[in-house]
């Protein structure tokens, strides 16, 4: 076990800094509100900022040996990238085309599942989204920001 000081860029420190800034900014921003709307944000923001600062100091004083680095960016960034991939694909193209296609991509590229299983699962999710949600339950699924533009281009009214 090493006794090196913890890196200032470690995720624990960065998230501590984020929480200090977040709580302080919320408290400061609330100063512009009328008293009735400002009292709670200022109070809770101040308490949150002081506690986050206290926690940050405790983390910085710990040695890396005592504090095991719990976030491994080499392992965590790829899966977080996939999360953003799903989110951006759905925002761009909507649930119906994006969700089954991203599912297929994940199953093939990340999970290394067989083509057969990947296609069956993706088709099942498509049937669930389109058949159950859109048709049977009448749930309005997001169409995406780009898909309507493409459809308008293909089928001009």
């Amino acid at each position: 076990m090493s006794s090196n000081p913890i890196r200032p860029t470690s995720p624990a420190i960065l998230s501590g800094v984020f929480l200090v800034i977040f709580a302080s900014a919320a408290g400061v921003a609330a100063l512009n509100y009328p008293p009735g709307a400002a009292s709670m944000p200022i109070m809770i923001g101040a308490v949150g900022a002081v506690l986050s600062l206290l926690q940050l100091v405790v983390e910085l004083r710990r040695s890396r040996g005592a504090f095991e680095e719990k976030v491994d960016l080499r392992k965590d960034l790829p899966i977080y990238g996939w999360v953003w991939g799903f989110v951006l694909a759905v925002i761009a193209f909507g649930f119906l085309p994006a969700a089954p296609l991203m599912l297929l991509a994940y199953l093939r590229l990340r999970s290394k599942e067989s083509w057969k299983l990947s296609l069956i699962l993706s088709a099942a999710v498509f049937v669930l989204l389109y058949g159950l949600f859109q048709r049977v339950l009448g749930v309005p699924l997001f169409e995406g920001l780009i898909t309507p533009l493409i459809l308008d281009g293909l089928m001009p009214s």
Partner: protein, 512 residues
């Protein structure tokens, strides 16, 4: 209390194919969420939100509550047969249930636990029926001052949920409360922290918060490796006969005093904010040990050690409904999420439910009881095959759950921008998850913070600062101080014996 209301609600459920069908559907789904490591009841509620979107309040609430009520029953099977507690509350079953399975008594342990869970669920409902007439006048007499203090009592729940990480729990609670302030302020009508974004005017909903802080971190945790790790399953553990299971069910009647007492205990524990969750199982287990003539049998496969936590953890579900529905103060983090889901369905928890919505309340109570009975029946039949479910590869689970998490977030507010917030906050939730920060405190802050603020302003408008010295306020301040001291002493005080310290080796709900 009109018995006609009580039994007509039951008759309505049984005679309405849609409602009984939804309960029948909720049972396998809840069992699935209970027995797959990494899912659990809280995720179950938020991931099922898309399915109840647009439903009438009664069927939607019946479906979600029935699913949530039996999640712990679903977790019994992997806990006893494979030694894998999928969620915190089932952990006490490992102490005696898993040794029984290893000693060749898997069927008996499973029967005892499932029978106890079923009895606990039903006794919890009966207790609630007996308590409601007593509680009714109190509920109607509550003013904004009492609601403010009730919300504060709920917030002190953080001290129980956070355990040794009290500072982190308070930080996460403040974070949730600040996020809960986003939107139009009900007092002044001005926008707070909306940055001019239309999608933030309605505020930040509980569903998106839970998905960001629970669903995404859990899925990222499961999906870190190329393929998820699966528990080792001992094939001998799943070899048992139906007669052995029946023998286990009979154990509940052989120890009827313990079964009834722990059921009643579980109901009352479920009603107290801060004592819900896994506390019910552990406290009932501790009671069982304390009344035993030969406590040395415990930990080696005592059937009483299986019965006590099973009754407690299911009876608390009925008890937890009381503060959640009538006061809008959830008894635990699971009920906090349920509260958000009920509000989304159009149900308004609060004292007026006693006057206007008693049939709905009774339908929900009956739904819990029916789901418990059906789940026990299902698991007695198919328990031995649950290994396949508990063993689902993370590589398959992660992307499917991700799709439903995105769908739930979008449908909660109908704004695509919520998806960006979900992904952004998911990173914060993941760092908290990896460092074992108590994430349930975020939900408590998010749900109860705004309630406390609104009630505070109303009480100030009615009485001014003098509301702080009203007799009920002083009584509730006393309760808050007692609960804080109790929780802090429980966490930081000296350990009484080895058994007490042993329980801390098991993952806790707060660490999940």
């Amino acid at each position: 209390m009109d018995p006609h209301v009580i039994f007509s609600s039951l008759f309505d459920i049984l005679s309405t194919p849609k409602l009984i069908g939804l309960i029948l559907l909720a049972v396998p789904i809840g069992t699935f969420f209970g027995c797959v490591p990494g899912l659990g009841g809280k995720l179950g509620i938020v991931l099922l939100i898309p399915f109840v979107y647009g439903m009438d309040p009664l069927p939607g609430a019946v479906f979600l509550l029935a699913m949530h009520a039996i999640v712990h029953t679903g977790g019994i099977v992997p806990s006893i047969l494979f030694g894998v507690p999928t969620n915190g509350p089932e952990a006490p079953l490992l102490v005696d249930g898993y040794p029984m399975a290893r000693n060749g008594q898997a069927g008996r342990a499973l029967g005892a636990s499932l029978g106890a869970a079923s009895i606990g669920g039903v006794v919890g409902v009966i207790c609630l029926a007996l308590i409601l007439p007593v509680v009714e006048p109190f509920v109607l007499a509550f003013s904004p001052a009492e609601f403010f203090w009730l919300a504060v009592i709920g917030i002190t729940l953080i001290s129980a949920l956070a355990g040794k990480m009290l500072v982190q729990g308070l930080i996460v609670g403040c974070f949730g409360w600040l996020i809960g302030m986003i939107g139009l302020d009900s007092q002044t009508g001005i926008q707070r922290f909306t940055f001019g974004q239309l999608f933030l005017w309605d505020g930040f909903d509980v569903i998106s918060g839970v998905l960001a802080l629970y669903a995404l971190p859990e899925m990222m945790q499961l999906g870190r490796g190329r393929r998820g790790e699966s528990p080792e399953i001992n094939p001998a553990a799943v070899r048992y006969t139906f007669a052995e299971v029946l023998d286990g069910v009979k154990d509940n009647f052989r120890h009827w005093g313990l079964t009834l007492t722990t059921s009643v205990m579980g109901t009352f524990i479920g009603m107290v904010p801060g004592l819900g969750g896994e506390a019910a199982g552990w406290m009932c287990y501790a009671y069982s040990v304390s009344r035993a003539k030969d406590p040395e049998r415990y930990g080696k496969g005592a059937v009483e050690g299986v019965i006590a936590p099973s009754t407690g953890m299911n009876a608390k579900e009925g008890g937890g409904l009381l503060p959640t529905l009538f006061f809008g103060v959830p008894a635990g983090s699971g009920m906090a999420i349920m509260l958000g889901a009920l509000i989304m369905l159009g149900i308004k928890p609060g004292p007026m439910m006693v006057v206007n919505d008693l049939p709905l309340v009774w339908s929900l109570i009956w739904a819990i009881a029916l789901a418990n009975l059906l789940c026990t029946f299902l698991l007695v039949l198919v328990g031995r095959h649950m290994g396949a479910v508990a063993n689902i590869r993370a590589g398959l689970l992660v992307p499917v759950v991700l799709v439903f998490a995105l769908l739930g977030t979008y449908l909660a507010k109908d704004h695509w921008e919520s998806l960006l917030v979900l992904a952004g906050m998911g990173a914060i939730g993941y760092v908290m998850r990896r460092n074992n920060w108590p994430r349930p405190c975020f939900i408590i802050g998010l749900v109860l913070g705004p309630t406390a603020e609104v009630s505070f302003h109303k009480a100030m408008a009615l009485w001014g600062p003098s509301f702080l010295v009203r007799p009920t306020s002083l009584l509730m301040m006393g309760l808050i101080a007692t609960s804080l001291i109790y929780n802090l002493r429980k966490t930081y005080g000296p350990k009484k014996n080895a058994r007490t310290s042993a329980r801390h080796t098991v993952p806790t709900d707060a660490s999940l």
